[in-house]
Amino acid sequence: MNNDLNPALFYFLAAVMLLSALAIVYCRNLVYSALFMVVCFLSIAGLYAMISADFLAAVQIMVYAGTIVILIVLCIMITRRTTMERTNMPEKKYILRASVLAGLLFFLLAYIFVNSEVLPTTNNIIALSGDTVSGLADLLLGHYMLAFEIAAVLLLAAMIGAVVLAKGADEK
């Protein structure tokens, strides 16, 4: 198995991801933004698949692209106005400051990543034995059992919380 990743595929997926992310920010229509999220998450799923995380890629598509975005769109629709135009406008006075801050942060992070000596090189990847699904299952129901259960409780709590919040505790 060739350990080298396909650069063309990587750059394509990265470009789609970043462009759709920018589109989320810059779209003036909230619904379009939500739809661009699907594109973004799909390309992230592609990136996962590239680096031996095929199960995660599937989860990403199902949970993020499938469920979360649908949920967001649903809620947007509940609070809808007559028109969805200009619902996602940026605040003009903050654009400069925010772009300086974000750009500076990106620049610093990139500088660190590029000049880092401790990051692993590409060529010492150990091939994982077995497929990722059974590996994850082993970990999930073995070493991370407790965390798994807690996550289940968390989801339950979140569900109840969401129901209570959306319904309103004071409403009969």
Partner: protein, 103 residues
């Protein structure tokens, strides 16, 4: 040039910063929620990339992402419920109008 961990880290940093930028300039609660999701995904990419490129024998990194997605799902559910509640109570989803904590 082969694609290494640096590439993944840089695109995840870019995604993170786009999310941050979105959070800072948007006034709509839904947009802000979406941008938070972007930032979360940037972190997930990091985890998966480290799991792939670091000489680790198991899938702990990917498992972290799995948990992260779980938490994110919970967060979105609660967050949307909160937004919904705010919309019902204040008739707005504009964060500028929700400043009752102003000092």
């Amino acid at each position: 040039m082969t694609i290494g961990i640096t590439h993944f880290l840089i695109i995840s940093a870019a995604l993170f910063c786009i999310g941050l930028y979105g959070i800072l300039i948007k006034r709509n609660l839904f947009s802000i929620l979406m941008c938070i999701e972007l930032m979360l995904n940037a972190v997930n990419i990091n985890l998966v990339a480290f799991n792939h490129f670091l000489p680790t024998p198991n899938l702990s990194g990917q498992l972290m992402v799995l948990f992260s997605i779980t938490v994110a799902a919970a967060e979105v559910a609660v967050g949307l419920a909160l937004i919904f509640r705010v919309y019902r109570d204040f008739q707005t989803v504009n964060i500028d109008k929700l400043n009752s904590m102003k000092g």
